[in-house]
């Protein structure tokens, strides 16, 4: 049967002997990342909350990047995207990534604009 798995993660840095041990390895990676997220969310280091990059707190950047990191490993190793052909991988991933980026950009820009209207308008909304 044609069920060959690619057994490397982290660009070949970590190579597993069998598919089962790769699954457990990925679980450990995902658990560590989740634990880090929760710990950061509870501690909220002052530096990360105060410093901003592109108007967003560094802490939130970290959360979002770690989420995409987790999403990558769920898709690549649990959903076996790593073993699919290039065409299928691109048809699924690029479509979703492009449309989602577009949607998020449009809606967040609009939301920010409406905030400005509420904030600087003559009408008071807090009464």
């Amino acid at each position: 049967m044609a069920h060959e798995h690619k057994l490397e993660i982290f660009r070949g840095l970590l190579k597993f002997k069998s598919n089962t041990s790769k699954i457990w390895g990925v679980l450990i990676v995902l658990s560590i990342v989740t634990a880090v997220e929760v710990a950061l969310g509870i501690i909220k280091p002052e530096f990360l909350v105060e410093e901003r990059f592109m108007r967003m707190k560094l802490l939130n950047w970290i959360f979002i990047i770690l989420t995409i990191f987790k999403a990558y490993y769920i898709t690549w190793d649990f959903m076996h995207m790593r073993d699919e052909v290039k065409g299928l991988r691109r048809a699924v991933v690029w479509t979703a990534v492009f449309l989602i980026c577009y949607l998020v950009f449009i809606l967040l820009t609009e939301g920010d604009y409406i905030f400005d209207v509420y904030d600087s308008g003559f009408q008071s909304w807090d009464f």
Partner: protein
């Protein structure tokens, strides 16, 4: 049989259907297409959440202060521990699902059965936990006063700790009678559970106790909710306070803007519905495994297809967790 499992027989000519550029079976491809479209649906919801949050960026509720409960630890402040636990459960059930798929590749019926069973249990625990989260959120904990403009005023003592409505209100010689349709205007009525306090009782109790302060929804520079001075608190409560809110529903929310509750119910509800249907589908496949359907078919690809769906549900939760609870 040909419709459920694709053989890799490519002896037919290219235009006769013998060509498989994506090297995946029909069923798996269709599952991927469904997943892409469902991913776009969920991102639509999450982007809409982002839109509303950016719109009220200076007054959005802080998730750490909303989800602070853990079953069995009543009154203990445990921000996010329970959601972290739920996340872990879902990732765990994802792992047992891949193990089931892997065992399927080796045609190991016993192991597939065991891992499918564990996956179903994980899914059930997750759905149950979500029901508990909803229940806690709907009940609320401290209660708040709603202003004429629909904003929320919460109570603090001078140490900065939250104070429940029950501890603020004094009892006045009056009762709030439930307004029913038959007693007044036909289109107006109270909900089934009106509070045991009235806004007058809360105002009187607040005026009598000098240790109480009011916290508004507005976030200050440090990202914390603004606390008013005693004079401002009195002014604000007496001038603007209109009704009291306990818990959250689609119209009122004691934690802040009702939109927060709306999105919470809608997004986690839609996700929970996916988990629920995933559990049902897993149960169906589980019984098929036990009955030996895939053994006779000599192929466990069906387990792989539901596995894709199950992992997708986990994938969505990773994003919901970040955008609802962390960011």
């Amino acid at each position: 049989m040909d419709t459920t499992v694709t053989s890799n027989d490519t002896s037919e000519n290219t235009w006769g259907g013998g060509n498989q550029p994506l090297k995946a079976s029909y069923g798996k491809l269709m599952m991927w297409f469904f997943i892409v479209s469902d991913a776009l649906t969920f991102s639509g919801f999450l982007a809409a959440y982002g839109f509303s949050r950016f719109k009220f960026i200076d007054s959005w509720p802080i998730a750490d202060e909303v989800f602070t409960h853990f079953p069995g630890l009543h009154g203990y402040n445990a921000p996010m521990y329970y959601v972290a636990f739920m996340t872990f459960i879902l990732i765990m059930s994802s792992v047992t699902m891949v193990l089931a798929v892997d065992a399927g590749h080796h045609m190991n019926k016993k192991k597939v059965t065991l891992y499918m069973f564990l996956t179903i249990i994980g899914g059930a625990i997750f759905v149950g936990s979500q029901a508990w989260e909803w229940n806690t959120f709907i009940k609320g904990d401290y209660g708040a006063v709603e202003t004429k403009g629909g904003n929320i005023l919460q109570f603090l003592n001078t140490e900065g700790e939250r104070v429940a409505l029950a501890d603020v209100a004094t009892s006045l010689p009056q009762t709030r009678v439930q307004h029913e349709r038959k007693n007044g205007v036909w289109y107006m009525k109270d909900g089934s559970d009106i509070s045991e306090f009235t806004i007058e009782e809360v105002k009187a109790g607040f005026a009598a106790n000098n240790d109480l302060l009011i916290r508004t929804e507005i976030l200050n520079e440090a990202g914390e909710k603004t606390v008013l001075s005693r004079e401002e608190s009195l002014l604000r409560l007496n001038r603007d306070g209109q009704g009291i809110v306990e818990g959250a529903n689609l119209i009122h929310n004691e934690y802040g803007t009702p939109l927060f509750a709306d999105f919470f119910f809608f997004i986690t509800g839609f996700h929970g519905f996916h988990v629920f249907s995933g559990v049902i589908i897993n149960i169906i496949i589980f019984f098929n495994v036990i009955l030996g359907t895939y053994e006779r078919r000599k192929n466990y690809e069906m387990v792989e297809k539901v596995g894709l769906y199950w992992h997708f549900v986990d994938l969505v939760w990773v994003f919901v967790f970040t955008f609802f609870y962390l960011v």
